[in-house]
Every structure is written in structure tokens, then in C-alpha cells.
Amino acid sequence: MQPFKFHSGIAAFVNRVNVDTDAIIPKQFLRKIEKVGFGKHLFHEWRYSDYEGTRENPDFILNQEPYRKATVLLARDNFGCGSSREHAPWALGDFGFRLIIAPSFADIFYNNCVKNGILLAQLKSQEVDEIFTFVEKNKGAVISADLPAQTVTAGGKTYSFAIDAFNKECLLKGLDGIGWTLQFQDKIAAYENKIKNQYPWLSRG
């Protein structure tokens, strides 16, 4: 996983609440067996005016300059709700997004982003409103994030966000979660021994 420490980039914005993972990456693209190549299908139904994705919808922000190079996404409440598909962060990451700012995120989506080196900065509603006003007025405005300091800077103003200490560590180091857990293999084995006696009906053949 690509570590995340600092990031600066052009901020695109999606001014909708409850953007679900079906909207981020629709079902017809979930049949791949690889993790790569989802970026061109990101926000497919809003981004293209045909099912095949050959005709761009010029009104959609990611089809406009300079947002085609956006790496920061500004969003509204409950971003990433619905399906647990990790294809959503794969699509966002493959497009180039590294930082998403919103007042709230769906739980599973949040975890999935951390596992893919994408920082989700949760700010207060009024702060997100403020940043929306700033980026809407300043085409191609750049937003920065400093993960060690837990801050986002936009329009000369700095905003603080909270993040779970372990998630922060994982992002900063690009940590292999499985490797981390496997250092406690003896504890897992001890637990398994304990339940073998305690809950014998769980030992399926």
C-alpha cells in the first residue's frame, strides 16, 4: 500500500449527500477479477451519457479542465454509503484521488479507503460548506493535507480533523495489515484452543 503523509492537489467536488458506492462504481464493472483499471469507470452514470462510456457528459466535473487532474475530492454527508465493494476506493484511487473531504463517511467505505492509502478527512459541516464556497469560486483551487499534523489547508485556512491512531499509523507507513496481525499468531492459536473446548459445536469437520 502506498503510504500517505502529505498531499496537495486540485480539488474536484460532488455536491450531493449520500453518494453511494453504486454511483461511484456501478455493478457492470464489478465482474473483473483484478484490482486495477477501474478509474475510467468512476462515477460512470454521471460521467458518461451512454451505457458503454464512449460519450462524456460535458456537465460532469471530472470531464472539465482542470478537474481531469483532480486528486482531492470534496463531498457531502454519508459519502460512500451502501455496498461494501472495495471497487469504489479502487476506482477513486485509480482515477488519482488521494484525499477525500466530507462531513461524514460510511463505515465500510472508510475502512476500505484506509486499506488503499486514501485519506478521508472528516470536517465539520460548516467547514465543508466553507471549502465548497472556496473551490466553487476558485476554479482549480489546490487543497493540501498534512496527515502527521492532522490538518487540511484550503483557501489559506487550516482545518483540523480527527483520525483513529491506528488508521493514521497504517496510512503513514503504508502498513501491511495482515503482516501486523500475524505478529500475534500465538494469541490467535491460543484463542482457537480455548474455543475448541468451550464451544465444541464450532469445530466443523
Binding site: 450531493r16 453504486d22 455493478k27 473483473k32 484490482k35 452514470e45 461524514s104 463505515d107 465444541p200 469445530s203
Partner: protein
């Protein structure tokens, strides 16, 4: 100290308690399907890791399967590749698989309980957000992403931070033809689609105790639509009776030991929840969604709301977007909305009781002209049972299509899709834009409401429908 059911199960599964980093919890049952697992197995192979407990891992094919044919050669190539990949992965890593041809194949959240794999007190995960379904047995069950699927395959554990707890009490008696689907849609309408974010919800109260296991599963299933990863209901005699005798249920002397343990699981009296909500069962009416988020819901007696009257600007914009997509005008009576398609099925409402209730409505009647209605059983066993009871013939005689088991038009990954502009009365769980097919319009409701809609060609109050 008094503990909630969630806290008991959580503490019982701690392999390692967080020391300012993360807790590690043990996973008793890992369910796997073809869409969210291929990348996880590929990563295991790449890193030369094994599946730690193949016997605690069970796979099936549900999202991609055709509901028209059992001939895999007739399925399109990309879907076939994904199903073939699951077969190969299960074979290589020694995981039990109920493949498309297996008589017990079905939607992962239907077959888990049906086979007796789902038991009280377990931790259950699956790369699927509707895993919350299994919480109806008093287990801690939630959806995970593919990286976490890989983590569970490799370690049989998950890194987790402890969520908050919410108690939703539903006391009283449900009205006639009001179902558990209406309960959960009412809950989502009340707390909102993010109301449960960060929480595990326990549903309790006399109206919940009166429900069958299948009805309870419908409620827990849609916890994610309220933002909660997990929903739970305390196990009781109804739970034990449902489990007893199933394929993987405890047998012999284990049965008594298991039941004794399960009886210790319900939340202690006066256990503290972070949030408590009380709803009167008598106040719940048949519910129908009008928008593109499950929280955009009202009763069948209601009207499409007017965004202009919404005080909150964000909510107003969301409603405007939804009405434009749904092609609905404010003030339209819900019971005046005409429909083109009906979908009865899914992990929310594709179980035998759902089909029985729908069959009872359509028995001896005909689907309205111009309406296409499909009935998709949740599993091979549900299909077989329905056929034993003659439900298939009731549906077919009424003009509904009788299909093979799968996720089908809940998300349209196979060829069961809405066409652009089509409007569907659906028993599934999500009314998102494009969910049932690009440009398709979804109204979520209960199986009896969907069945009446099929007959009338429009959304209709099942309580005043003459049966």
C-alpha cells in the same frame, strides 16, 4: 456490570485488546461470494499465504448467476470468468463451495441460516454489506471490503475498533399486512441513512419477539441502509427452533450445551446503550420509498414530498435530484404511482415466508396488463420448498415469472435489469440511481405490497386490497 449482547459477543471474541492501536477479534464464520473475493485470493497467492481455517470459510455464487438457466455456457463470458475463478480458488485453498449447479446454491445470506451455519454468539463476516442479516440470530455479523476478506482468509481475525451501541425498541402489535420490511423502512426513515453510522443496532421489544426468524432477518438485513454495519436480535425459542436439525447445527450432546450458552447472550437488564429509540408498532404502516435513497420513504397513504418545503438545503437538493431521476412530481399520491416491473426476491425478501405471502395475494388473479413480474427465490432450497407447496404454479398461473435462485434484479449484475425509465415495485434493499439497471426507478416495499402492485399495475395499499 450489565452488558449488552453486542458487548458479550465482542469481549468473547477478543484475541487481543487494543493497546492504543487496534483490537483483533476472532471470526467464527467467513462467507464468500464470487464478486468480492477474487482479488483477495489472488493476493494470498501472491504473498504465499494460506487460508488459515478453510473449515470456517464457506463460499457460494449468487451475484452473477443467471436466474433463467443453470447452463453456465449460456452465461456471458465475464460473469463466467468470475464464477470459474471462485471455483478454482475454493479448490486450491480447500474451501467448501456451493456452486451455481449445487442444489443448495443461493444468496449467501439466505443459505447461511438455511444450512445452520449461522448460529447465535458467532462473529460472521462476508464481503457484502448485507451480512448484517445473520445478526437476527444474535450473532455479530457485518460486511467487509476485499482487503478485509483477505485478512480474514489469512488470519481468521479482523482488526476492529469497538463500535457504539444503539437499542431500537419496537413494542406493541403490528397492524394487519404490516411486515418486518415496513418496520425497517420506518426505522430508516426515522433515523436516516447515516443515523446508524458507527453503531451496532440491537432491535428489541414485543413486536420483534413476535416475529419469525425470516422476518427478523429482513430487519437486520437492512441495518446497513441505516448506516449501521451490524444489526442484532436476541436469540430465543423461535431462534432455537429454527436452527434445530439443520445441516450444520449442533447435534447430540452439543445441542444442549449450545442452547445453554445461547441463553446467556441476550443483553442484561439495564445494560447501557449509547442511544435508545422507541417506536410503537401500531404506528407503522406499509412503507414505500419515493426517492433514490432508502431514507426517502413514506407510507402508502402518503404523497411525494415537496422539496421546496424542506428547510435543510442539502436535504432539499437531494430530494430535487431524486424526484428528477424518479420522474415524480411533489404532491403525487404514492398510491397513484404506476409501475412497469415487479421484483420479488433478494437477501432481504427472498425467503419461503416472503414467497408464501406474495403467493397468497396473487393466487387466482392475474398480473396487470403491461406489467412484468419476476419471482426469484433466495436459494435452491427455497425454490424447491415453494414448488413442493405449489407456489410456483400459483405465480405462473397469475402471470409472474418463476426463476432460479440468485441476487438477480436487486443489483442487476446478471441479465435481470430494469431498462432506462422503467419503474419497479421491488422487495429488495436499495433504491439507488441505476441500482436495478441504468436509468431504472426503484420503489422499495414489502413482498405483499409488491404482489398487490403487480396485480393493480400501480402502488396499492395492501390493507384495502380485497383478497
Amino acid at each position: 456490570m450489565n452488558k449488552t449482547m453486542f458487548e458479550k459477543i465482542w469481549q468473547d471474541h477478543l484475541v487481543r485488546e487494543s493497546q492504543g492501536d487496534t483490537s483483533i477479534i476472532y471470526i467464527d464464520l467467513h462467507l464468500v461470494h464470487e464478486v468480492t473475493s477474487p482479488q483477495a485470493f489472488a493476493a494470498l497467492r501472491e504473498n504465499k499465504r494460506m487460508v488459515r481455517c478453510p473449515q470456517k470459510t464457506v463460499a457460494t455464487m449468487d451475484h452473477n448467476v443467471s436466474t433463467r438457466t443453470k447452463d453456465i455456457a449460456k452465461v456471458d463470458a465475464t460473469s463466467r470468468t468470475q464464477m470459474d475463478t471462485l471455483s478454482k480458488n475454493c479448490q486450491e485453498f480447500g474451501v467448501r463451495l456451493y456452486d451455481f449447479a449445487d442444489k443448495d446454491q443461493g444468496i449467501v445470506h439466505v443459505i447461511g441460516p438455511e444450512l445452520g451455519l449461522t448460529l447465535p454468539g458467532l462473529t460472521i463476516v462476508c464481503g457484502d454489506s448485507h451480512t448484517a442479516t445473520h445478526g437476527a440470530f444474535g450473532s455479530l455479523a457485518f460486511g467487509i471490503g476485499t482487503s478485509e476478506v483477505e485478512h480474514v482468509l489469512a488470519t481468521q481475525t479482523l482488526q476492529q475498533s469497538q463500535p457504539k451501541t444503539m437499542l431500537i425498541n419496537i413494542d406493541g402489535k403490528l397492524g394487519k399486512k404490516v411486515t418486518s420490511k415496513d418496520i425497517i423502512l420506518c426505522v430508516i426513515g426515522q433515523i436516516g441513512t447515516a443515523g446508524g453510522t458507527g453503531y451496532v443496532i440491537e432491535y428489541a421489544g414485543s413486536a420483534i419477539r413476535d416475529l419469525s426468524m425470516e422476518a427478523r432477518m429482513t430487519i437486520c438485513n437492512m441495518s446497513i441502509e441505516a448506516g449501521a454495519r451490524a444489526g442484532m436480535i436476541a436469540p430465543d425459542e423461535i431462534t432455537f427452533n429454527y436452527i434445530k436439525g439443520r445441516d450444520f447445527a449442533p447435534k447430540g450432546s452439543d445441542w444442549g450445551k449450545a442452547v445453554a450458552y445461547w441463553k446467556t447472550l441476550p443483553s442484561d437488564k439495564n445494560a447501557k446503550f449509547d442511544r435508545v429509540i422507541n417506536i410503537k408498532a401500531e404506528d407503522i404502516k406499509p412503507m414505500v420509498t419515493w426517492g433514490t435513497s432508502p431514507g426517502q420513504v413514506t407510507t402508502v397513504e402518503g404523497v411525494v414530498p415537496d422539496p421546496e418545503r424542506m428547510e435543510d438545503a442539502v436535504e432539499r437538493t437531494a430530494a430535487q435530484n431524486a424526484l428528477a431521476y424518479m420522474d415524480l412530481k411533489p404532491g403525487t399520491k404514492i398510491s397513484d404511482i404506476k409501475i412497469d416491473k415487479v421484483f420479488i426476491g433478494s437477501c432481504t425478501n427472498g425467503r419461503i415466508e416472503d414467497l408464501r405471502e406474495a403467493a397468497q395475494i396473487v393466487s387466482g388473479r392475474r398480473v396487470a396488463p403491461g406489467v412484468t413480474a419476476i419471482v426469484v427465490p433466495g436459494s435452491g432450497r427455497v425454490r424447491l420448498q415453494a414448488e413442493k407447496e405449489g407456489l410456483d404454479q400459483i405465480f405462473i398461473n397469475a402471470g409472474l415469472e418463476w426463476r432460479f435462485a440468485g441476487c438477480s434484479m436487486c443489483l442487476g449484475m446478471n441479465d435481470d435489469q430494469l431498462k432506462k425509465g422503467e419503474r419497479c415495485a421491488s422487495t429488495s434493499n436499495r433504491n439507488f440511481e441505476g441500482r436495478q439497471g441504468p436509468g431504472g426507478r426503484t420503489h422499495l416495499m414489502s413482498p405483499v405490497m409488491a404482489a398487490v402492485a403487480a396485480l393493480e399495475g400501480k402502488i396499492t395499499d395492501v390493507r384495502i386490497f380485497k383478497s
